[in-house]
């Protein structure tokens, strides 16, 4: 009877999910309620978790709870710490959730709400969650080895090096592009700039508190820190209202870029307890709080989604970024559906803390479902504003026109009515001087979040506070990615250079620290600077580059996972990783090809460079601007080269893996698996 009830309940969940998906897919005309998005996502997640992840756990991976995990065998109180399933879920989620699932869907909203939402949901269930889960499982079975080490053991020695280089490359591009998102959110905004600047002294204060006054008392320090940051959000308004102060904090893109580069260098070279760690604690609490509040806000307010399901920009001429739905919707969404970066967390900290193999399903598959939900919420927040406003915030001036009246006319001519007064009133209501041309996703998401929050608490009066709270929340955890990433990048550079000249590899030698920190910030700082000065807005070039590198890393992870499944004798189920891998190969290779060779200058790096060259040759560029345009041309060619190198590196790994698979399947080569030996758990059944 109970069994029957269970079946009925699951059929009901599936039916509601199907109804909600059908509603958002076929709805036309009147604006649709966000409730349908939440229902479609949550019901699909529940069914996918109940059925697909159970199938993966039982049939494909055969999780074994009698097998001792690395945390049990090596229990050292430091890295290998057996951790409660729920706590580890939170830990893993906090590690994988970054700005990607917020920014990607916001940008992809230019195609309309439908393509992005469907890919967020389906991509997570069949690709992203599978990758996170399988890589976590593989790493648990190998004492917590990293993706690079597993690629070396299970694919080829070269595969390991390629994975390592790919990680470094994606890290540099990632840091450049997320820094650009902050710059676009802060430029000409004294309020937001002041608030974010204040988080630095607040973090230093907490650093001293946690190091000398109350070592390791993270919660109490974070409570103090969060209170101070909230005060800084409010105080930002006073700064913006005082002309003398406002002038000091009103900065242009280039100044902000150099400030961020200096910050990244300091965070990497200073002792970690002083700046990096306390900011990370602060950001973890604010991130968790803001994500929960956004979910609660969407459920309470149930905003209407004003963006149409599909916009005219599915044709590839979108103002936010150029390129057709296939492949650019998938490349742009990236992290909310599948993120290669997650495979580094799944083969990093988490496998060393897991108590039982069986928990890998909940933590690996489950946490990614939640990440996908964050992406769906970002999509709802971006699509809940008038489409005209969305395009005004996210389009560069070179596409829509430099003056408000001109830009409003352009956007209205696309069929998304907008007046310059609407934008002026909106900017005023959120306490900003202007909201035009702020590509990058952060400001439009903040406007969306502020509307949702203010309809829950405070109304119009608090709109500006909520807007700056949202900007602070995004910027704060982008900064956390920036400083933690710079530091890890520094270690990678030191390790690589240490192979050439040993002293550079010494982690405590100050000249080596300064040199390697300098190299890594120079690398991402270069991409950031090129984005800031790019006439097309930077995001148009850099976000696809980031998306391609991220999805290529996911493809690397799925190649490794496929090799391992094959060697485990799971040929029958090989499609669970082979199918998403093939899909990623198709989208990344198509996107790479188009970004390099497309004849459309807004898509192809090379044709953009050539178009600028032709303009210079034809004398259409003023003499004073020629030097600047030549730098833009160089940057475009550099981006083309980076894309090509990444694609070729991946193809080398893929070919090596395919040769190995062929040898195992057709020539009977011994499938040597590098798992650690089975050790029976000493822990009682339960949990």
């Amino acid at each position: 009877m109970k069994h029957l009830l269970g079946i009925v309940a699951w059929v009901a969940v599936a039916a509601v999910g199907a109804l909600a998906l059908a509603t958002i897919a076929w709805h036309r005309g009147e604006p649709i309620s966000a409730t349908w998005f939440v229902l479609a996502a949550v019901c699909t997640y529940l069914v996918a978790y109940r059925l697909y992840s159970a199938f993966l756990a039982a049939k494909v991976l055969a999780l074994d709870n009698t097998r001792a995990t690395p945390a049990e065998r090596r229990d050292d109180g430091r890295d290998f710490v057996p951790t409660n399933k729920w706590v580890l879920f939170g830990h893993h989620f906090a590690a994988i959730a970054g700005p990607g699932p917020l920014v990607g869907p916001t940008l992809a909203a230019q195609f309309g709400y439908l393509p992005g939402t469907l890919w967020l949901i389906a991509g997570a269930a069949f690709a992203g969650c599978v990758q996170d889960f399988v890589i976590l499982f593989c790493s648990i079975r190998r004492d917590g080895k990293t993706l690079g080490e597993m690629a070396k053991d299970e694919v080829s020695k070269r595969g390991g090096t390629i994975a390592q280089l790919a990680v470094l490359a994606i890290m540099i591009i990632l840091l450049g592009v997320v820094a650009l998102v902050i710059v676009n959110a802060l430029k000409s905004s004294p309020w937001a700039t002041f608030t974010l600047a204040m988080t630095i002294p607040i973090a230093l204060l907490l650093g001293v508190y946690l190091r000398f006054l109350r070592p390791g008392r993270v919660i109490e320090a974070s409570v103090i820190g969060v209170a101070l940051v909230m005060f800084a959000v409010v105080a930002g308004q006073w700064v913006a209202d005082a002309p003398a102060w406002a002038a000091k904090f009103t900065l242009g893109g280039v100044t902000l870029a150099f400030a961020l580069i200096a910050y990244g260098f300091a965070a990497s070279a200073l002792p970690v307890w002083l700046l990096l760690a306390p900011r990370d604690y602060l950001s973890a609490f604010i991130k968790a709080g803001a994500i929960f509040s956004l979910a609660a806000g969407i459920l309470l307010v149930r905003p209407h989604v004003l963006m149409p399901p599909l916009t005219r920009f599915v044709d590839g001429n979108g103002p936010v970024f150029a390129g057709k739905i296939f492949p650019f919707c998938f490349i742009t969404i990236a992290c909310g559906a599948i993120s290669g970066f997650h495979s580094l967390i799944s083969s990093g900290t988490t496998p060393k803390m897991i108590q039982r193999e069986g928990h890998a399903r909940f933590i690996g598959y489950g946490a990614m479902l939640l990440e996908s939900f964050v992406g769906v919420m970002a999509m709802v927040a971006a699509c809940a504003m008038t489409p005209g406003v969305y395009f005004a915030i996210n389009s560069p001036a070179t596409v829509v026109g430099a003056t408000p009246d001109l830009a409003a006319a352009t956007i209205s001519s696309w069929g998304y009515p907008l007046t310059a007064d609407t934008m002026a009133a909106l900017a005023h209501s959120v306490g900003e001087q202007t909201l035009w041309n702020r590509a990058g996703g952060a400001p439009s998401l903040a406007v969306g979040m502020a509307h949702i929050f203010s309809r829950t608490i405070g109304g119009e009066r608090l709109l500006s506070i909520w807007y700056h709270f949202a900007i602070m929340f995004e910027a704060l955890f982008i900064l956390t990615v920036l400083d933690a990433g710079t530091r890890v990048g520094r270690f990678m550079v030191q390790e690589l250079l240490g192979r050439v000249w040993k002293p550079i590899g010494r982690m405590n030698w100050y000249p080596a620290i300064v040199l390697s920190s300098g190299l890594i910030v120079a690398a991402w700082g270069y991409f950031l600077y090129q984005g800031v000065v790019d006439p097309l807005g930077g995001i148009n070039s850099l976000w696809p580059l980031f998306g391609i590198s991220n999805q290529l890393l996911a493809a690397v992870a799925l190649v490794v996972a496929t090799s391992i499944l094959l060697k485990m004798g799971k040929l029958k189920w090989i499609w669970v990783t082979l199918a998403p891998m093939t899909w990623l190969v198709v989208i990344t290779m198509t996107a790479s090809y188009q970004k390099i060779f497309s004849a459309n200058p807004r898509i192809g790096f090379l044709s953009y460079a050539n178009a600028l060259g032709a303009q210079i040759a034809a004398g259409k560029i003023p003499a004073a601007k020629i030097g600047e345009m030549q730098r833009v041309m160089f940057n475009q060619r550099l981006d083309a080269a980076v894309t090509a190198v990444l694609a070729v590196m991946f193809l080398v790994l893929l070919v090596e893996a395919v040769i190995d698979w062929h040898a195992i399947l057709a020539r009977g080569k011994e499938a040597k698996l590098h798992e650690t030996a089975y050790v029976a758990t000493q822990w009682a059944e339960g949990d």
């Binding site: 109180g77 959730a97 970054g98 993270v218 990370d280 990615v481 890890v488 822990w683």
Partner: protein, 79 residues
């Protein structure tokens, strides 16, 4: 609070009153929050060091700095 049982058996408070079980739930949530945030890391370490009879146990301050060094030397945050 108290030390967290490693073996997750349900402790026998099935018949206790609503308030007691509410208290238990809150204390578990609090403990979970402490473990999630790293607030309880030192206690976990000391428990582990005692279990394995480690000769020199780090002080709270030493452990805090050492743990941060390790944590931020590898990828701990994602995009």
């Amino acid at each position: 609070m108290g030390p967290k049982p490693k073996k997750h058996g349900r402790s026998g408070h099935g018949n206790s009153t609503f308030l007691v079980s509410l208290g238990m739930t809150l204390s578990r949530l609090w403990q979970g929050l402490r473990e999630w945030s790293g607030d309880a890391a030192y206690e976990t370490y000391v428990r582990c060091a005692r279990k394995h009879r480690v000769a020199t146990v780090l002080t709270r301050e030493e452990f805090y700095v050492e743990q941060l060094q390790r944590k931020y030397s590898r990828i701990s945050r994602c995009c």
